[in-house]
Amino acid sequence: MNELLQGIAFLGGLSLVLAIVLVVANRKLSVYEDPRIEQVTDLLPGANCGACGMPGCRAFAEQVVAGKLQPGQCPVGGPETAITVADFLGIDAGSTERYVARLLCAGGCDVAVQIAEYDGYPSCRAAAAVTGGFKGCVFGCLGLADCEDVCDFDAITMMENGLPLVDADACTACGDCVRICPKGLFELIPISQHLIVQCKSLLAGDEAIELCAVACTGCGICAADAPEGLIEIINNLAVIDPDKRQLETEIATYRCPTGAITWIDKQQFADVTTRTQTVAR
């Protein structure tokens, strides 16, 4: 009987001591967490895609609350989310311009020459490792759909001519396609911009056209027709100066002999038919 009482007393005492330790530890070691982090996280899209450069939405929220990033830097959320978050925190949303991935090649199988058959592992990156692929133009799209595969938002579909089509509504400008393409053909461009050069070929004149009917030949007509400084010919390729974008004008495209420089509205390749995925995998 005595032993039983002793046992109860001992255990009771022990729990009391531990409870006190816990209370003290909680006081001393607790970290104050800004409740706004949780709330901002809830306002974000929750895609955890990493497009903002952070490991996930929560990490982005922490940075925004700490004032190190601006709400507008979440490309997936778009302007609405940015403004909601900015209003909630009472800060500036930052630039909320929406970007979309544009393909800098229009050389589908209907216009670009194919010089070899490729029967290796069906991936652009694998094909690119074999003397650059099977296309006459070594700069152009291989059409084996690595970009379509990598896109988490189903924004990319391969078209009948073998080129990927980016759905401007679905594209979140996360940049995965930019990173995966072995030919570096995607660029994130503000959706408000209309003028793009759909080619990356560094060949000049006839050499370029022999391999692809819609190549930029580097003739310089667009540069001459456009406002001063908007377009520059670098290594036989027309390049639009991103800082002079506000000067863009459709006139620059009127006399392009191949149509390499084009004026697009929201959707690129609006005139080309699409197909759902039929690329052999």
Partner: protein, 447 residues
């Protein structure tokens, strides 16, 4: 009469693909005529492209310097024929990019003679001078990697070299260039070894040869100059016996650590043809302008070993060797580690060791379908580096590249292709790894 040694050294794992060497191994090296236009890329080596020192329209002599090294990891280029520089501009290249190249149109009567330059004498030159001379002779690893030889021979201060290994293994199927070089350029090889021993401070040299070339081993063994510390050793016929790390393990029992270099185990390895080139060019003060290439395969009628000027377009080389009409695939290098080409307009470069052409009869029979991994572990038994290709392959499909590198030594894979060769499920393992390695390298470069 020397007895053929019975103990044949080797490494663990590896595979035994059929070698297809019998058709060219006894064909003596033959010279090639000059192509109507030659394309000399300024980047034929790993490292920075060379800087041209000639202008369009200029006349050059065969052997004349046309581009000089731009920095340390870069080598010189020399004119493969006497002629006129037509253009300096972009040309397609084996790498799949357009590369700055010098277009040379040989004179109709361009001869084979080359004027000697300033020699680099092995007796009087310092190790440093030898290394510079090798750079200015434009010499790169002729085994296929095209890594500048002078960089390889520049041993860091804190490393000591005791053994020079001369790689005459040539384990890649179809290729017989090193075999012919060993038989026909024996003297040059030993002269080259003398230079390299001095440049690296190595005490001795071992020439490692696969046991399927006993004639070459015998010839070399009989030709060892007096008092030269050189051994000729036969190694087992097995792929990839010619890989540096495998050869070091086979000959010396030393293991190059993961991510390390041969110098970490006091060894330098150079290819036998590279040694011959050093031995021929340095005493004459010349640069490399041609190399021996095996042209073979079912789609070639005049299979053989040819001495071909660097810059010769592939199409011209194949025509000279009698290319069949129904050719369907052309591979530069051998079928294991070589690379199929997509264009015949690319030029032959210093790194081209062989050209193998196949007809549709062979290429049509390739299995197409990829099946899931059945965990048979054949690949694990084949990988000479004791990697786990099966696991790596599964991770590659999931895009887990970081884990492949961090946990499964992806970056040690040297793309020998043994795993793909044995896989009964036809999984393109080495292709996966090539992509994965490229991505990891890119990530590293970005951060």
């Amino acid at each position: 009469m020397e007895a053929t040694p019975t103990v044949r050294k080797t490494f663990a794992h590896g595979i035994h693909p059929p070698d297809f060497k019998e058709e060219t191994r006894s064909k003596p090296i033959r010279r090639f005529p000059f192509a109507p236009v030659m394309i000399v890329p300024l980047s034929q080596h790993i490292g920075k492209p060379a800087k041209p020192v000639v202008a369009e329209g200029q006349e050059v002599e065969r052997g004349q310097l046309i581009a000089e090294p731009d920095g340390f990891v870069s080598v010189a280029m020399h004119a493969p024929a006497s002629g006129i520089i037509r253009k300096i501009g972009l040309a397609p290249h084996q790498s799949g990019r357009m590369v700055e190249s010098i277009f040379l149109q040989p004179f109709p009567a361009s001869g084979q003679q080359v004027d000697p330059g300033t020699p680099c004498e092995v007796e009087t030159a310092s190790p440093k001078e030898i290394i510079t001379a090798i750079q200015h002779a434009g010499i790169v690893g002729l085994g296929g990697a095209a890594f500048p030889t002078h960089v390889k021979l520049s041993i860091p201060e804190d490393k000591r070299i005791d053994t020079l290994i001369i790689n005459g293994v040539e384990c890649e199927p179809y290729l017989t260039t090193d075999h012919r070089v060993m038989l026909e350029q024996t003297g040059d090889i030993f002269t080259g070894i003398r230079y390299v021993l001095k440049a690296t401070g190595a005490k001795r040299a071992i020439i490692g040869i696969e046991a399927n070339k006993p004639d070459a081993a015998l010839k070399l063994r009989r030709s060892i100059p007096e008092e030269m510390p050189v051994n000729v050793e036969l190694v087992k016929v097995k792929y990839p016996q010619g890989a540096e790390k495998m050869l070091i393990t086979a000959l010396l029992g030393r293991e190059v650590p993961s991510g390390g270099l041969p110098a970490d185990v006091h060894v330098v390895v150079i290819n036998v043809a590279t040694a011959a080139e050093i031995g021929r060019l340095l005493p004459r003060g010349r640069g490399i302008i041609e190399r021996v290439i095996t042209i073979t395969g079912p789609a070639i009628s005049k299979k053989g070993n040819y001495l071909i000027p660097i810059g010769t377009p592939l199409r011209y080389a194949l025509d000279q060797a009698g290319l069949h009409e129904d050719v369907s695939e052309v591979v530069l290098g051998g079928p294991m580690m070589g690379q199929a080409v997509s264009s015949l307009d690319i030029p032959i470069t210093k790194g081209t060791s062989g050209i193998v052409a196949f007809t549709s009869a062979e290429t049509n029979h390739r299995p197409e379908k990829i099946y899931p991994c059945i965990h048979c572990a054949y690949c694990v038994d084949a990988c000479p580096l004791f990697l786990n290709p099966s696991r790596l392959g599964i991770l590659a499909k999931q895009g887990e590249y970081e884990r492949m590198a961090a946990e499964y030594h992806l970056m040690d894979c040297f793309e020998c292709g043994s795993c793909s060769w044995v896989c009964p499920s036809n999984i393109p393992l080495v292709q996966y790894f090539r992509i994965a390695k490229g991505i990891i390298r890119e990530k590293k470069a970005q951060s």
